[in-house]
Amino acid sequence: MASVPAISVRDVWVEFGSTRVLEGIDFEVAAGELVCIVGPSGCGKSTLLNVIGGFLVPTRGEVTVQGEPVRGPDRRRIFVFQDDGVFPWLTVEENVAFGLSRASADERRRTVAHYVERVGLRGFERAWPRQLSGGMRQRVEIARALAANPDVLYMDEPFGALDYLTRLKMRADLLEIWRRERKTILFVTHDIEEAVQLADRVFVMTQRPATMRAVVPVELARPRDFGAAAYLAARHAIFAAMGVSEATGVEPPPRATAAPAPSVDASVVVIGGGPAGSILASYLGGAGIDHVVLDRVVHPRRHVGESLVCSTTRVFGEIGFLEQLETSGFVRKHGAVFTLDGGRRELALPFRAMPDLGIDQAHTYHVDRARFDELLLAHAATRGARIEQGSLVERVDLDERGAALHVAGRAAPLSARIVADASGRATLLGRQLRTRRGDPRLAQIAVHGWFTGVDRGPAETADWIHIHVLREPRAWAWQIPISADVTSIGVVCEGRAGLARDETGERFFARQIAAHPLLARRMAKALALHGGPQVEGAQSYFGERLAGPGWLALGDAAQFVDPVFSSGVSVAAESARLAARALAGALSDPAHAAEHFADYDQTVRRGGEVWRELILLFYRMPPLFLSLLEDAAARPALQSLLQGRVYEPRDLDVLAELHARALELERAAASS
């Protein structure tokens, strides 16, 4: 790399009136380096970038680029803004050619073609910006910047307005472009994940004082694995430098309070003895962390059949439950069958082992939830969990020293350093803290029951889960084997639109089955058990915050996603696993508790986001989704997600790909 720094910022101060926005900023960026500046919103990072870009004159200090002091904007240093700066009155190619007015016509044509190709917009040269998606417009802007052949690119949250998947795709594309063009890039973001994905070095800024707190080098080859140790270390270093957890926006308690821990009834109180609570308790018991599980107990639970995804095997292995699962007579689940067009088309997806997660078995299980939940709770007890049954928690008081739980029928509140909310769909803390948000895109209901005498189809896939796509949008039916002769059948549809006026669940169910040729055949000799099918809400929701000082939420208490990919128990299992890690970290190192919680919050929310995206993409165009599963190139990544690797995904490009293809098809349909 060149010895003269590409960018040098020396003692820059910016004051607006009496407000000090930047305080003595000093740094250097080498030529060809990709540097990210992160910090909470309003910390002045955009102001800093505007100073460096020459749009703002600093109150004090100097910025030099390649040895020359900055006096104003310059075409050798192009700014890519957060808001959409593509000119809507020019076509894509005219936009890209904007900075090339001095070039010859021939040269201009070649340059434009080159960069349009580079950002993946070939075929859209004559399109108008209004015909493009937000992500595509952002690509136009990047192509326009690159075409001017600048030495330096300044990017101010360029992907901030894009949805999650497009953001991921754009990051990968930016890295690819940077790898080939070797521009110096200064990239401002508030997203720590984004910074660690992209940067050679991350500059961390803080508010009050508005200064540069730390420089975190990320010495990792790209593409970067979300789960790699060095990756996590970099993330922790950034969180630590910010001293504020980005996710919760809450300052961590002053370090002094960590000294004498007040005596409490238990270090951790787990509310709820469902799968999430039981699995967490098993982990805590195994780690020797003293805790108590408060279980309401509503045994026997309703007759719910649920099917697991493969990634949960790792969790069950870690808590020593796998053998019991294997020997308790649950039906093994070797794959999934999807059908379309009333059963005329089908796709069989046999599961694979997931060696990257240490899972060598290629099957998971269908479970009767009542029995499954009981076994898990009993297992937690054998691992040293203290379980108090019949305890209804009415309210939780949280302060910086811990939690006090008001339990029905108990005179004094129960004290704990941390409360883990595994209260299931009751979402105790989510409601108390008002962080629970319904997802209007996935307001489903399910009508389901157990049956005998169901024909499960050809023998080789008879024990798999069957997902039958129904005619109405976002409607489908499941077929899950519970035992040798009992099968759970459920119909899921859009809440409001699905049931006709005054229609009972039972009648709706019968109508849907009768209208579907394949289901009608399979259910011809079926007998309903336990009083017939019942209606249950299945609206997706998520917590805006899943952790804060002294609390975290897991399982259904954290988020619930539409059941089409059998994600329910996996959300419980994976979040319990991550919660155990966060709790162990927070208790052993109270000074950094906020970072552990913030990390937990981000990881679990991101996982839920991936599930929801996956489900929405499936609903948007089931045939397209299935065709991608048949595509040898796309299948491994998509299957890995469907088998539950959403919390530490390796390759989300497949989702962006699906998104792009769906968009293309929709555009074609709209214009025809």
Binding site: F98, P129, R130, E666, A669, A670
Partner: protein, 241 residues
Amino acid sequence: MWWAIVAVAHSAIFPTPGQVVLGTFELAANGTLWEHIGASLFRVGAGFGLAVLVAVPLGLWMGRVSAAHATLNPLFQILRPISPIAWIPIAILWFGVGDASPIYLIFIASVFPMVVQTTSGVHTIERRYLRAAENFGVSRAVLLRKVVFPAALPQILVGMRIGLGVAWLVVVAAEMIALRSGLGYLIIDSRNAGNRYDLVIAGMILIGLIGLCLDGAMRRLEGLESVRWRFGDPARSGAGG
């Protein structure tokens, strides 16, 4: 209904629809109808065209240069509310009773709304576009041609639509006072020369129809690709996803 009212009232002067149609045919047959329409359109075209040539550059300049805006805007704000009809005596004084007078009146009437709209079009260009342009260090000419003008174009078109509407309104009034041709002249002349109210009504209807056509033509301009970003895209949103 019109026919019924005339019949019931036994009006000797007010014509029935049938008479109006017959009168129109009569004018079309002897060729004077086309002469009148042509004369009116010519005056509007000339006056309005001149106004566009003056208003758009002036508006762009006032939009970009704040000193120009500060100086000229008060003057225009004073001149704008004066009805074009009030200018008639001065127009006759300056330009006589030939074609120049109505062209001048049309110019005066339509230039102000277009200047105002163009200026506000430039003022409301979003900062992000100007910053993006500034970034690439383009020359003033390129900035004007590729950013300022196209960004203000939708507003300029709105101004032109208003201006053309006013121009059409004024041409008729101007022709009623002087001159020997045009639709306004047709109306006044028909009344003066023998109470031909059928031709008066015919002239009124023609004025209305031609005004509608002119407005329709201006609206079509708003469908041009380079301004659709501002006026929305009815074809696409109608098709839906």
